[in-house]
Symmetry: C2
Subunit: 408 residues, 2 copies
């Protein structure tokens, strides 16, 4: 590995070397929300360093809409600034310690779509939610199943996770009851941020993924499994998901992920031509880590995902629907074949029936008030470096006491 | 009925009398998109008449965010202007013939939610899609089932309906095929537009509906039933809906609907307290009319809806999810008990198995290229007047010829 290219003091094992350069929105006591790039322990203030008003809007949207040539030009500029010591005097005043910044949601999201593209996850959920039926529905190997989530409930990493209240009905109950969710869960996912919009009526071919998508973030799709199980037939998840979806603050450009590209796993079922991704290598060799209270509890491998993000984008636009700048689509829970590779507590505890043990022996199933969950990820970068995706975190706080509903 | 209160020449049977005053966004050759109010055959240019920049933004959002006191003050002002001849010289230059305006999507929608609140519709669909099972799922009488739709595919009435392409698999087929939908349908719905946002984590009580919702429009949730049937298990409708959802241009204020409020139908199953709407009278006595090529084919009665919009809003926020200004939630297809009261061709033709006949004897099932569909609605206004909701229309055009998907 080598970060010797920079005049900045970068740790050998930083995941935020010159190979990464993720974009995000930050503020400090004296800097209003603006665009920055993470490098080592600093944030480069792009508003200040470039003087370009596109970086002062408080979201990445305007820059993302500018498209791949603008993305590449900025990346080259920043790489040059951080490599050539001649630029040090210009750049230095615009470097802010990462410890001093507050991060914000990086994009204003128009539509948020959540897919369901891990075969291991889908099979696990099918076995847990629909025992006695085939774990995969007949459509699963033919299309990347997805649904729309609530864009207004997206929030940046660190936002408290207020335990949601709602209806749930256990099979043994005659009637539904109302109260705080007792099966609060995570879903460790990878998200894809659209930069260049598509044209309504014109599908995005599977090979045009990088013409539209700017980069990659982490997503925790918090889920209330008791609410979800009661509500989701026939129109899908709704309140079981819509209370909060957390997003990591740094969006890693696709340009940083060339070394992470890989062939997806072999598929046993042939796909229709619009989903044919032979040779495209849009599998991504990310390794996620899920920590509960700081303790590693799962290591989901993204390179095992059945459907790639290029197929997801091709599918969601094949009916003529367009994507807009800032749209976010997520992979669905990332789970691998191993028990310690499952990206949800639903799976780690097999629906609560098989608690898993923390290092001190404490048995755990779903989330308890006070739990802190952090999802991180890294991917191989060029020259043996690692690309970090930072983290998406959240701490569970008790359900709010609310006054009895007013009906008059 | 009486429109004698106005110095304007209003037809006795106009649905756009002083009792209505719906808001929309219009433009003309020399007026950029701005807020207007429909009255008789005119549009009152609020940007010009009030001089208030809130009406020049090209969406209703900023005005809707101002809340009920601002809504009431403007309504009183416009009523006074159009009633007292002393204001004629001020108002007259700001009246534009409706025939001369182009209408636009009235709001910038953050999240779009579609409910499923007609019992007759849900039972019909259950019988058609899931023969042999109970027509209603066990949760249906306990909560207003809903799901998120694609906000980016919302478009104003008149937008062409390009027949979507996608995957579908008939039960007799071994494998899915790809192509233009052969079961393109409508869903005649009523939509509710949020003005005042709610606070994340704080549910909106069922009695606070009018503190948040500004008004009502019509929605046609175009649906590709073959795509939908293949994709919707287990996460709900996705591409079968996301290609286009059309919205009527005029938003009728709740203030215009006092005479239309009614008790919803009796419910056989008790609801949880947060959904208890006893005495609230948020049923609405709207009568929809669905026309195919100008011919009336269905008359769905909105007063038969099982769940009211007040219950829908209470439900969608009970888990802590917030609504934002401009959010739109729709009722789901409006169907009554009669065969000629069904708000979709799926139901009118019983899944295509029982074609219905046009006046000239032509048997019809799903939409054909060239079909024009118009959904209109009226409701009782004060003093025997009628409140018109205008119309939401669309004409089906053939699927676009697209180049074979590029995979490299």
């Amino acid at each position: 590995m080598s970060h010797s290219g920079s005049w900045l003091d970068l740790a050998d094992d930083t995941g935020f070397g010159l190979e990464n350069l993720p974009h995000g929105i930050f503020s400090t006591a004296d800097r209003a929300p603006r665009t920055g790039i993470a490098v080592g322990g600093w944030v480069l203030d792009l508003a200040g360093a470039t003087g370009d008003p596109v970086h002062t809007t408080g979201t990445l949207n305007a820059f993302l809409a500018a498209g791949p040539p603008a993305w590449a030009a900025l990346r080259a500029q920043v790489t040059d600034w951080l490599t050539d010591p001649a630029h040090r005097d210009h750049v230095q005043p615009h470097l802010v310690p990462r410890a001093d910044v507050t991060m914000h949601l990086p994009v204003q999201v128009g539509d948020y779509v959540d897919f369901y593209s891990s075969r291991h996850h889908a099979e696990n959920v099918g076995r847990i939610f629909r025992p006695g039926s085939a774990p995969l529905t007949p459509n699963w190997e033919h299309l990347p199943i997805g649904y729309h989530g609530r864009a207004g409930s997206l929030a940046v990493s660190g936002t408290p996770v207020v335990r949601p209240r709602g209806q749930r009905k256990a099979p043994a109950d005659d009637l539904p009851t109302f109260g705080p969710s007792t099966r609060l869960d995570i879903e460790a996912e990878v998200g894809f941020v659209v930069g260049v919009p598509s044209t309504p009526g014109t599908p995005v071919p599977v090979g045009a993924f990088a013409d539209h998508v700017f980069g990659v973030c982490l997503v925790n799709d918090w889920s209330a499994r008791d609410l979800q199980a009661w509500e989701y037939v026939p129109l899908g998840p709704f309140l079981g998901k819509s209370f909060l979806t957390s997003v990591s603050p740094w969006v890693v450009p696709l340009a940083a992920l060339e070394a992470a590209r890989t062939d997806p796993p072999a598929r046993g079922t042939a796909v229709l031509p619009y989903l044919d991704d032979a040779g495209l290598r849009w599998g991504l060799d990310l390794t996620l880590e899920v920590r509960l209270g700081g303790e590693l509890v799962a290591t989901p491998p993204f390179d095992q995902m059945y459907w790639t993000p290029a197929q997801q984008l091709a599918h969601l636009t094949v009916n003529g629907a367009a994507v807009r700048t800032g749209d976010l689509f997520a992979s669905g829970t990332v789970s691998g074949p191993g028990r310690d590779q499952r990206g949800s507590f639903l799976e780690l505890s097999w629906g609560g029936a098989e608690p898993f043990a923390l290092a001190d022996g404490t048995p755990r199933t779903f989330l308890e008030d006070g739990d802190e969950v952090a999802v991180t990820a890294t991917a191989p970068g060029p020259g043996g470096t690692r690309i970090s995706f930072g983290e998406v975190t959240g701490t569970v706080v008790p359900a709010l006491e609310v006054a009895p509903p007013v009906t008059g």
